[in-house]
């Protein structure tokens, strides 16, 4: 199981780094985040796993939005017309077949790489027995966060607030946009 997950994560990260199609890159990044969250779950870090899944999914949705708004539309001027034509002649049958083939290819690739990793794990890098974190309840994590790392938590909150306010200031339209 761990070998399959590591293979899936490595293949997805490789595709996310080197593919050209923006949608495929975003999908590969999503699979990477989900795979890393699953590895956390196997290691016993349920809390970080859930956070990782949520963050990866939200980041993927934002990446799709980004790729549609400011990536594909202005990618190249000569592609504007075919892009619009492609949107207008969208066919659900081809889209469904494409999705099915993509999912099938992903699972086959992950299973292949996972099998290879599983076969050579004794001589490569995988541990023979997984360490498992025994003390992992939310009570303990919350106590550590609010007692030992309170200053770091406050600094993180201030950083997020500054990011939110600064992003709002940068992204808001000025008077010239309004006119």
């Amino acid at each position: 199981m761990l070998g399959c997950l590591i293979g899936l994560v490595l293949v997805a990260a490789f595709l996310a780094s080197f593919l050209e199609n923006r949608r495929h890159v975003v999908f590969a990044f999503w699979v990477t985040g989900l795979g890393v969250g699953s590895i956390y779950l196997i290691l016993g870090a349920e809390w970080v796993a859930v956070i990782q899944w949520i963050v990866s999914t939200l980041a993927t949705m934002n990446f799709i939005f980004f790729s549609v708004v400011s990536g594909e539309f202005y990618a190249d001027k000569k592609f504007r017309l075919p892009y619009h034509k492609k949107i207008h002649t969208f066919k659900f049958q081809k889209f469904r077949e494409h999705c099915l083939l993509t999912v099938l290819a992903w699972f086959l690739g992950a299973a292949f790489v996972g099998t290879v990793v599983f076969c050579v794990k004794k001589i490569v890098f995988l541990p023979q027995e997984l360490p498992y974190s025994g003390e992992n309840d939310l009570n303990l994590i919350g106590r550590v966060l609010t007692q030992e790392y309170l200053l770091s938590l406050q600094l993180l909150g201030v950083l997020m607030l500054i990011t939110l306010v600064g992003s709002s200031v940068i992204a808001c339209s000025d008077k010239e946009d309004a006119s």
Binding site: V48, I51, F63, S133, G134, L156, L159
Partner: protein, 87 residues
Amino acid sequence: MIWLSAILGSLGIAGMVIGKSLLKILIGMQLLILGASVLLVYSGIVTQVPVQGHVFGFFIILGGIAQLVTGFTLSMRVFIFKHRYLK
């Protein structure tokens, strides 16, 4: 597992260096942060202090969110400038 985080970070750096669009650079940064959080969580578990590893991974993930928000904001600003001046 340390190799996994190292490969994830290397792929992120490679994506940032090779990528020509802002999307690829942002995804490269996210992969880098992903590798760092994997390393922190795993090292916390191995060294018998799992909660500290989880907390550091949590901090790293939230720092990545801040980076992502800033990148999206800058990309939106670039989109507005392109829409206004390069139309």
